[in-house]
Every structure is written in C-alpha cells, then in structure tokens.
C-alpha cells in the first residue's frame, strides 16, 4: 500500500452498544473550515434554517464533545446524499459523522411515540413493508392508490398525499429467479455463453445484491442485468438477503441497520471467500455495503465485502472490454437524458455510462449535470419535507425539460421515482440499455 492510502485509512471504532464511544476526533481535526462542503449541500440551498454540513459534522461533533450540548435537531433534515463527503478537500468523514449524529438524536432526543417516529420506522423498515405488499401485488397497488388511503396516510402517518406509492411488480425478482431454475440455471447459461465466446479461463462469478427495489418494484432492471451478465459469461448467485440498510441510516435507526448489515456481511462475505465478486443495480445499495458498513460497523469480514462490492455498470467497465463489445452495436433508441445519482458520484462511478454510450451508433445521450434529485431515499416520502424535496429537484426537472431526450436514464430507483413524479418521463436503467445494445441487437 502506498503511504497515502495508509495514512487515509480511517479506523472507525465500533458504534454499538455504546454509541458515544465512536471516536471521530481525527476526522474533526482535519476540518480547516474552508466551507467547500457548504457550497454543494442541496438542503442548505433551499432551506435557510439548515445549518449545513460543516455544522452537522465537525462543528457539532466538537460542541457535543464538550458535554452538555445535545445534538441539534437539524440533523434530521440532512438527506444523506453525501455530496459534502465528496466535496471535502480534507477527507473529513462527513457522511459518517451525520449518520452517527442522527442516530444519537433519534435514540436520545426524538419522541418514540411521535407520528414522525412511527412513520420513519416504517420507511426505515421498507423491506418488511415491501415483502407484505408484494405478497398481494394487485390488491396492494389498488389500496395504496385509493384517494382515501392517501388522505389517511397523510393525516395519520405523514406521507405526502402528492406522491403515489410505487407499484409492486406482479412477481418478485426472487420469484422469477427461482421459477427460472435459480443459480444452477444461471451457471449453465453462463457456461454456454463462455463456450460460445471462446473463453476458457477462470470462472466468472458474481453474487447479486438486489435489495428491496429491484426485488419488489423494478424487477425488469434485475432481469436485464441477469441476461446481460450471463451473455458475457458470468454465472450469478442470488442468496437470501435483507434490505441494504440505506433507509435505516437515513432515519437514524442504526440498531436496525446493524442487524441487516451483520446478516448481509455474513452471507456475502462467504460468497467472496468462494471467489465471487458482488454487484448491485442500485447505487444506494452498493454504497451502503461499500462505504457505510465499514464506516459504521466493526463486523468481521466487512472490509472484504466492501472491497468486492461494485455497481453493476462499473463492474463490467472494469472487467470487460465494453468499448469493443459496444463498437459493433447499432441500436435504435429514442434520445435519452442521463441523471447521475449522488450516491454514484460518491463512489466515483459517475461518468461511466455517458462515456461508454457516447460513441454507440444510434444512441443520443444528454446529461442533466451535477444536480440532486431531491427525493433522496425516504426524504421525499415525508409530508413535512415534500416541498423542500421538490424544490431541490427543480433544477433537475428543468434540465430534463430542456434536454432533447424523451427517456430518462439513471441507476438509482429513488432518483427514477422522483424523475417520473416531477417530469412524467419514462425512466430506464443503464442495464436495460446495455442489454438491448449487447444482447438483443
């Protein structure tokens, strides 16, 4: 390891059971208050009462260390977009600090009997809700869509009536996967593809972290991924798994998050040991396993899981000569506009899609540029944050309206929900596009 990597490896101290034990001082000391982080924060941009990332992070941490002072309730307003983390010139672990502060606030200061707490708890545990909903997808879709239900949801629970719940797919991805023959079928198809491609080398194996959205809602994205990866010779494993925990981090429910993280690290860690790399089609899922788990939890094997976790597009970019594969493709798409999710930016995968598709015949692709969608996971699903959420998204909506594209393209399911809500655009995932270009054409 080079000197730089060594000195920047920041060892988190186990967060639980005693949350106040996490020692973030080395991170705090690195802040020289240059305020670069403040210039990128989407909440600070629309909400004058939000003190901004520098306060939420190093300053608040300094203050609370002195004792007496409680965490400021504004931590609840942070989106967890992590843009400040990307912007900080001095490697201050802002995202980590916000996650810890939020957990402290929710554990010690927020009323656990409040409507907000209950609502947040439901959002945080979306995995369970999704599971229930997907058992009876048609009924769920009908019930969630009813005007009366929406009204009740708003009044009783604090969900914004303006938004409609995402439709449940009639069959979950996992259901489709097992009907199709599960991992064994995948191994078989991948082997055939490798033979057809004249590849003899080592096995190509990935384990898929589908998370909640690809399982219950955007099943088409996961299916495209499967067909594309298999056609390139990858066998796919789809183990039992929990939600990635992103909605839990964002709502300060770190106990819940630790529970799912332990299970996921256990499952996927074992696969890594068996020679699998890990992929996700949702950038928030991949960021959780790659960045948030090791920043927050000291679980056995967490670093190995993080090191092997990739965004599905990124993984192919790194391991295959995608440019050569795409060179022959000639596809007939409607013009598209791409939106890079904040969590993709944090991981440095922003730009891969636009770069890859720039020279493909038949593809016309614009970019909305550096804007936050404003839905940010569970944020935009809260009544009291709906207006801020839409105001943050305004710049992105405008960019879509101005761009010539008719279809939107993004890796994040929450960005895509917001794009649909704010612009009415149809949204595709890059996996679907790549499948059309490489498998169908």
């Amino acid at each position: 390891m080079s000197k730089q990597a060594e000195s920047e490896t920041f060892d988190p101290v186990d967060l639980f059971p005693d949350a106040t034990e996490m020692d973030l001082r080395p991170g705090v000391d690195k802040c020289d208050k240059n305020s670069n982080c403040e210039t990128v924060c989407p909440v600070a941009e629309v909400n004058e009462d939000f003190p901004g990332p520098k306060f939420q992070g190093p300053e608040q941490w300094r203050l609370t260390r002195k004792g007496d002072i409680e965490f400021d309730e504004s931590v609840d307003k942070c989106l967890n977009c992590m843009r400040c983390d990307t912007a900080c010139t001095n490697d201050v672990p802002l995202g980590q600090m916000h996650n810890v502060a939020r957990a402290n606030y929710v554990d010690n200061q927020m009323s656990h009997a409040s409507r907000e707490f209950l609502r947040n708890k439901m959002l945080a545990n979306y995995g369970t809700l999704g599971k229930l909903g997907s058992m009876m997808p048609r009924i769920s879709n009908a019930v969630f869509g009813l005007g009366a239900t929406r009204w009740l949801n708003e009044k009783l629970l604090g969900f914004p009536s303006e938004r409609s719940f995402p439709d449940f797919a009639t069959q979950t991805f996992r259901g489709w996967w097992s009907d199709r023959g599960g991992d064994a079928t995948s191994a078989e198809r991948a082997r055939e593809a490798r033979e057809a491609r004249g590849e003899t080398g080592e096995d190509k194996k990935v384990a898929f972290f589908h998370g909640c959205y690809a399982n219950y809602h955007q099943t088409e994205v996961a299916k495209s991924m499967v067909r594309l990866y298999e056609s390139l010779g990858y066998e796919i494993a789809v183990p039992e798994q929990s939600c990635c925990g992103t909605p839990m981090f964002a709502n300060g429910m770190l106990e819940d998050a630790r529970g799912v993280a332990e299970g996921n690290v256990d499952t996927f860690g074992a696969l890594v040991e068996d020679g699998y790399d890990l992929i996700a089609t949702c950038t928030s899922c991949s960021m959780a396993l790659r960045k948030e788990y090791p920043e927050l939890f000291d679980i056995d094997g967490v670093d190995e899981v993080a090191a092997h976790m990739f965004d599905a597009v990124e993984y192919l970019r790194v391991n295959e000569d995608l440019e050569a594969e795409l060179a022959g493709a000639d596809v007939d798409f409607p013009a598209m506009t791409y939106h890079a999710p904040c969590h993709g930016e944090v991981m440095g995968v922003e730009g891969i899609v636009t770069e890859l598709l720039a020279d493909v015949d038949g593809v016309e692709l614009d970019d909305t540029g550096d804007v936050c969608c404003g839905l940010a996971g569970t944020y935009g699903w809260k009544d009291e944050k709906y207006d801020d959420s839409m105001e943050i998204g305004a710049e992105m909506f405008e960019a879509f309206e101005e761009a010539p594209g008719e279809v939107a393209l993004t890796e994040c399911p929450m960005c895509s929900a917001q794009i649909e809500h704010g612009t009415g655009y149809e949204v595709k995932h890059p996996m679907q596009l790549l499948e059309t270009a490489l498998v169908e054409s």
Binding site: K3, N36, G348, E350
Partner: protein, 420 residues
C-alpha cells in the same frame, strides 16, 4: 482489465485541467482522474503569473522581466517565458470573456479583501472596475454579517498603500437575515434569485442601502458574494440601480470566483473531449524499467488499473495532497518521488507564521521536459509533472500560483499529447 487512454492526467486542479486540455488538443485520447475538489475553491480566482521576484519589495509591473531573475531550479526557468505565454493563451481560450487582462503583458493591480494591492495577470470580469490603476474614487461596501471583509479597514489599508484615488469603507446590513455564520453561497443565492423581502427584493433593497451611503464615488466594491449562477445579471442590475460601476473584491474560502473558475475550466475540458473520472484517489503504480505501465485507483478497498502511454502528475503540493509528510520525511504521495527537504523537522517551518517556511517550496524536482528526477536522473520516461507538485518555488510569496500551473500544465500536457 485496465481502463485505457493515450494520456492520463492525475489531479483536477488548474494544473491538471490545463494539462488535460493541452493534451486533448493534440488529438490524444485524454483522461483526467481526480480525487476531490481542487484548491481553486480556496483561491481568489485571480490568475497570478509573477508578482514579485526574489528580493522585491514592490510588485513588478512586467512579470516577464522578473522571470529572467529567477533561479535555475524555478519551474519558470525550466519551461521558459514562451511556455507562460502559451499557458495563458490556453487559459484565455478556455474561459472566454469571463476573464480580462489579456490586452497587455503587464500585471494588473487588484485590491484584496485585506486592503493590500495584488499584482495579477488575469482577473474575473466582475473584478475589473476595481483595478487600482484606475483613478476614480472608490467606495468599499462591507456586509455586516459577512465575515472576512471589513470594508472600512480595507479602505484605510488601501489609502495607506498610496493608491491614486480616495477610498472609503461603509458597512451595510444585508436585506435578508440568515442564521449566524451563514455561508457566502447563501447570500449569492438570495441575490441570484432576487428573493422578495420587506420593501422590495434583495437586489433592490441592497442597492437602496448602498445608495444611502454613496457619496460622489464612481465605483463600488462588494465582497465576492454577488450571485453565483447569475452573477453577471446581479452585478449589472446593481450597477444600473446605483448608476456607478460595481465590482467584487475577492474574498477567502470558500471563494465564489475560485469556484466559478473551476466550473469554467471543467466545462472547457469537457468541450475539448477530456474524459473525467472523479471521486477516488490514485494510490499506486506499476512500472517496467523506466516506464510507468499503469496506475492504480483505490475504490474503497480494491484497486482499479488505469493505463496510458503518457502520464501527467498534477496532484498539487502539501495543500492539494500531492506531497505528503510525516515525522520521517517528505515525499511525493503516489510514486514516492523524492522531495528535497531539511533533515531536521524543525527546519521545515519558522516560528513566525508569516516567516520564510521551507515547506512552502516542497515538491518534486524536474528536468527541462518536466520529468521528475532523483538527483540528475529522470525517474520515468513517460511521466511529467505540472503545477504545485513541482518544488522550488513559493507561490504565496512570489504570487505565481496559477501561472506556474498554467505554464507547466501546458508544457506537460502538450508534450505528452504530441508523443502519441
């Protein structure tokens, strides 16, 4: 599989951006990889070439005259005056009419937020009416809640510096109140959007408050908070309302003029066809004999290889992250290139904060082609350095930060590109 390009530039500051644009303009397929934001967000947005030669007390009118007096190890001495001109020409092309100063080779003199006079080669259009060579009387306006610009004090300092006009400072209240210690971007956004407040809009009320304290000065300077995305609109409207010229005085970090410059240069790089990858650091490399084969990016625990035929190292100095020190010594952070420094750690800096610190000049040594050397020997035939990662100059004292980055960036990028 490595990700392949012809030229790979490491670092996204002004040096890296210049190198990448210069390389792309030769037709080479060029990628820029960068970790975080550059030091431009801390900098003034002024583009200094050379304000003071060693031993100077007063600023130099002609930076090219002063170039000739620099020691042989200075980066300008390695690349020569023509490289400075080429670097500036590339800059002028890239930023278009957002910047002025290219009508003359002489330094312009700009008033700083501390009330000193700074020699610089290029300045943002928004700073132009504030030039000190202009003899119109000047009013400086501070905003009470914006720290870092004390207008009456800056005015006193300017008067004491002997400027050829009368200058006064006044402080006004911003039309809108923000939580304590609000960031400059909040003021800029309120002005961009011209939000409604009691008695009118932010721009209107601000103009009214300034008009109330304006006497017969013909130009008014504000701290650099006059809008972000619509800053020319904001400044023009204030100008129209006040009936006098309005300018911005560059302020400390985060500096809006610095951030606007960063945006403009990234746009220019994209227009030139540079591929940009940001968010993760390059941490290591593989070499074969005297050639860099590939560099390795750390993506949170695992490494991804980037390969090119030619490389430019533009990772900045001790502030930017390119040069690292610990108790044991100082070295360049990716290739471990040697950095000359006193053995005794206590000689790296002076007790006096403003003293002549050795660390300000820390950086790698290079040959005439900007290849890093150890002793006399170039370390890698296909690696060049640009910007603040190069040692042997003290940009803060001689006022040469961006100029050295432009000149060396131009040379490193265009030479790398031409070898493809």
């Amino acid at each position: 599989m490595a990700i392949e390009d012809d030229v790979l530039v490491i670092g996204g500051g002004i040096a890296g951006l210049t190198s990448a644009i210069a390389a792309a303009e030769t037709g080479a397929r060029t990628r820029l990889v960068t970790y975080k934001q550059s030091t431009l967000g801390n900098a003034s947005g002024l583009v200094d070439v050379l304000g003071y030669a060693p031993g100077d007390d007063a600023p130099r009118a002609d930076p090219y005259d002063a170039l000739a007096e620099l020691p042989a190890e200075h980066p300008y001495s390695k690349v020569g005056a023509d490289a400075v001109r080429e670097g500036l020409a590339l800059f002028d092309d890239a930023v278009g009419d957002d910047y002025l100063g290219n009508h003359s080779e002489a330094n312009a003199l700009v008033a700083t937020h501390a009330g000193s006079v700074k020699p610089t080669a290029r300045y943002p259009r928004s700073a132009a009416p504030g030039l000190v060579s202009d003899d119109r009387d000047m009013l400086l306006v501070g905003i009470d809640s914006v720290t870092g610009f004390d207008a009456p004090m800056a005015a006193d300092h300017l008067s004491a510096a002997g400027v050829p006009f009368d200058v006064r400072g006044e402080t006004v209240r911003f039309p809108k109140s923000f939580p304590q210690d609000a960031d400059v971007t909040r003021y800029a956004r309120a002005l961009d959007r011209d939000e409604s407040v009691d008695d009118g809009t932010v721009r209107e009320v601000l103009a009214d408050r300034v008009e109330a304290v304006l006497e017969d000065e013909r130009r008014v300077g504000f701290p650099a908070v006059l809008g972000d995305s619509r800053h020319e609109v904001v400044r023009t409207e204030l100008q129209d309302r006040l009936g006098v010229d309005v300018f911005e005085v560059p302020t400390g970090p985060p500096s809006l003029p610095g951030l606007r410059l960063e945006d403009a240069l990234y746009d220019a790089a994209e227009d030139a066809g540079v591929r940009i990858t940001s968010g993760n650091p390059i941490v290591d490399y593989d070499a074969d004999g005297g050639r860099v084969e590939q560099v390795l990016m750390d993506r949170m625990g695992s490494e991804v290889a980037y390969e090119a035929q030619q490389y430019v190292l533009a990772t900045g100095g001790p502030v930017g992250g390119g040069i690292e020190s610990d108790r044991g010594g100082v070295e360049e952070s990716i290739f471990g290139l040697p950095v000359e420094h006193p053995d005794d750690r206590y000689e790296w800096f002076e007790d006096d904060v403003w003293g002549d610190h050795a660390y300000t000049e820390f950086g790698v040594s290079v040959d005439e082609d900007l290849r890093p050397v150890a002793g006399e020997d170039a370390q890698f035939e296909n690696l060049r350095a640009a910007g603040n990662v190069i040692g042997g100059y003290d940009f803060a004292t001689e006022k040469s930060g961006s100029g050295v980055s432009l000149a060396t960036g131009y040379v490193a990028g265009s030479e790398a590109g031409e070898l493809i």
